[in-house]
C-alpha cells in the first residue's frame, strides 16, 4: 500500500516537469475534442427531456399541442395544482415517506444484525442462510409475487401499509446482508475481544462498539436502499391496490394511464416534475457519497 503511493508520487513529480516543457500534440487535441463532443451530446440527451418537461409543465394543453419548444404565454402553476389535487399527491407522498422510512430503518437494523452474526460467529446453519440469501438476490420477484399475495391476504396484511413495509424489508434484506457481511468481516477482531474483556454484553458490544465502526458501510447501503425502495413498483401495484394507500410510483402509473384518455398533458408534465424534484435534491446533496457507494459495491 505505502509502496504504491510512493511510486505514484515520484512519477507525478517527474511528469509535472514534463508537462511544463511539452505542448499538446495534434492527436491529443483531436481525441480530447472528440471525447468532449460525444460526452456533451450525451449530456444533452439526458438534460433535454427534463428541460422540455419542465417547460411543458407551465404550458396549457393547447400550447403543448402547438409547438414542442414554444415558451408558455404566462407562467402559471395551474398544472401543478391540478396534478396535486386530482392525483391525491399529498396523501400519496405521505404514504411513500412513511413506508420507505419505516422499511429503511428496519432493514438497516435487521440487515446489520444478521450480517454481523453471519460474519463473526460460527452458528450452525450459517452457510445455508448465506446461500438462501444469494437465492433471494438472484431469483426474480415475479416468481414469488402470486404466493406472496395470498400469504399477505392470510395475515390480513394485504392492502395495508404495514404489509407493504414488511415485504419491502424482506426483499431488501439479502442485498443489505451481502454488502454488510464483507464489511463486518473486515473489522478487526481485537476490538470485539477488548469489549468482551471489559465486560460488555453481546448486545452492548454490537450497538456501542461494532455498529459505530461500520458507519461508512451502513451509509453506502442506506443510500442504495433508499433509492431502491423509493422506486419500488412491482410490490405496491400487486400487494397494495387500495387507492388510499397508494405510494407515489403506482400513483404516477395510474395517473399516466388515466391522463391518456383525458389528455391533460400539462398536469402530467407537472406530476413528472413533482416526482423528480425530491430525488434531484437528494441526488445533488448526496451525489459524492452515492457515486462512492456505487464504486464500493464493485470492489468487493
Amino acid at each position: 500500500m505505502s509502496l504504491d503511493t510512493r511510486a505514484a508520487v515520484t512519477v507525478d513529480a517527474k511528469a509535472a516537469r514534463e508537462i511544463r516543457t511539452t505542448k499538446s500534440t495534434n492527436s491529443d487535441k483531436v481525441v480530447g475534442g472528440v471525447s468532449h463532443v460525444i460526452l456533451a451530446l450525451w449530456s444533452l440527451v439526458v438534460i433535454l427531456p427534463m428541460l422540455w418537461t419542465l417547460l411543458g409543465s407551465f404550458k396549457t394543453t393547447k400550447e403543448i399541442f402547438k409547438s414542442p419548444f414554444g415558451l408558455p404565454a404566462n407562467w402559471s402553476f395551474e398544472n401543478y395544482v391540478n396534478a396535486w389535487v386530482k392525483n391525491n399527491f399529498g396523501p400519496m407522498f405521505l404514504n411513500t415517506v412513511i413506508v420507505v422510512s419505516a422499511a429503511l430503518i428496519l432493514v438497516m437494523l435487521l440487515g446489520a444484525m444478521c450480517a454481523y452474526v453471519l460474519a463473526r460467529f460460527s452458528v450452525p446453519g450459517s452457510r445455508v442462510i448465506y446461500y438462501l440469501m444469494l437465492a433471494g438476490l438472484t431469483f426474480p420477484p415475479f416468481l414469488a409475487i402470486v404466493p406472496l399475495f395470498f400469504i399477505l391476504q392470510g395475515m390480513q396484511l394485504l392492502n395495508t401499509l404495514p404489509g407493504l413495509i414488511i415485504t419491502y424489508v424482506a426483499f431488501a434484506l439479502p442485498f443489505t446482508v451481502f454488502f454488510l457481511f464483507s464489511f463486518f468481516k473486515s473489522l478487526p477482531y481485537e476490538i470485539q475481544e477488548a469489549a468482551y474483556v471489559d465486560g460488555a454484553s453481546e448486545w452492548r458490544t454490537f450497538f456501542q462498539v461494532m455498529l459505530p465502526m461500520a458507519k461508512p458501510g451502513l451509509a453506502a447501503v442506506a443510500i442504495m436502499n433508499f433509492l431502491g425502495l423509493w422506486n419500488q413498483f412491482l410490490l405496491p401495484i400487486s400487494l397494495n391496490t387500495n387507492r388510499d394507500n397508494y405510494v407515489l410510483s403506482q400513483g404516477m402509473a395510474s395517473f399516466a394511464s388515466s391522463a391518456g384518455y383525458q389528455v391533460d398533458f400539462g398536469a402530467l408534465f407537472a406530476a413528472v416534475i413533482i416526482t423528480i424534484v425530491p430525488v434531484l435534491i437528494v441526488y445533488i446533496l448526496f451525489q459524492r457519497q452515492l457515486q462512492g457507494s456505487v464504486s464500493q459495491g464493485t470492489s468487493k
Partner: protein, 341 residues
Amino acid sequence: MSTGGPGGYGGGLDTVAVTAARTGGRKAPRLGQRRLTFDYVSFLLVFLVLPVALFLVFVISPFIQAIYYAMTNWTGFSPKMSFVGLDNFVKLFQNTTFLQAMANNALLALVVPLITIVIALIFASMITVGGPSHGPVRGLVGSSFYRVVSFFPYVIPAIVIAILWSMIYQPSNGLLNGLLRALGAPNMIDWLGDQRTAMGATIFVIVWSMVGFYMVLFIAAIKGIPGETLEAARIDGAGRFRTVVSILLPQMRDNVQTAYIYLGIMALDAFVYMAGLNASGGPNNSTLVMSQYLFRTAFEKGQFGLATAMGVVLAAITLIFAGLVIGVFRLIGGKDEGGRS
C-alpha cells in the same frame, strides 16, 4: 475492499488486523468457549432468528410455494385446486403470445446489456484515459460534469422515466418528432405505436437510464487498476486505444461480467419500463414481456396456477442466462486467466 478495510486507520495497523483475522480463518476466536447465557441466547434470537424468519416467510416460502402452485390449475379465489403436473408448462409452450413475450425478453436480455456496456465502457475510457498523451495517464478536463449529469437518470424512479419517454415519443406533440420536424423531416413517426420502431424505442429508454450508472462503475474499476500498469504500457509505446483494449478491458473482465448479468436480469424483468411505455404490450404484442403477461394472467384473469408457471419459466431462464454469461466470459477470458488471480 476485503483486504484494504474501510479507510480510516493507518496502513500498518490495518494489515496486522487483517492478517490476524485471516489466520483465524472464518471463525471468530474463542467462540468454542461461548456459553449459552441469557445474553448470548437472546442476542442470537433477535439478531439472527428474527431477520431470517422474516426472510423465510416473505421471500423463500413464496418461492417454494410457487413451484407447487405452478403444477396446479388454481384460480385463487375458489378453494378448489387440483394437481395437473406439467400441464401448465405444456400449455405455455403452445401459447404463441407467451412465446412471443419470451422472444422479446430474449432480445432485450441480449441487446440491452450489450449496448449499455459498450457505451458505458467508451465513456468511462474517454473520461479516464482521454487526456493528453504525455506525462501520467490522465482523464479529460471537466469530466466530473459529465459523470454527474449522466448518472442522474439512475435515481429517477423507473416508472417516471418510462412515462417521461412515452410523452417524448408522442407522435403529434412529443419532443422527438418536434425536433425532427424542426430539422425538416416531414412525416411523423408513431414511435411506440408502430411495430417497426416500438422495440427499438423501448430499448433506447432502458439504455438511457442505465448508461450513467455503469459508466460510474467502470470508472471506479479503471481507477482501481494500479497506475504503474498504465505507465508501463505508455512507456512501451501504447496509445490510448491500445491501452484501453489491451490493458483496461482484460483487467475489467469481472466487472463487465457482473454488469452483463445484472443488466440481463433487469432486461428479463423490464416490467416497470413496459408498464410506463406500452402497458398493453405494444402493437401486435411487439414489446410484450413475460412479466407483463404474468401480471395480467394473475391479477386480471385470476389464473394463478398458470401465472406461477410463467414465474417458474422466468426464474429458470434467469438462471440459464446467468450461467451462459459466466460460461461465455470464461471462454473469452481463458487465455489471460493464468496471469492474474
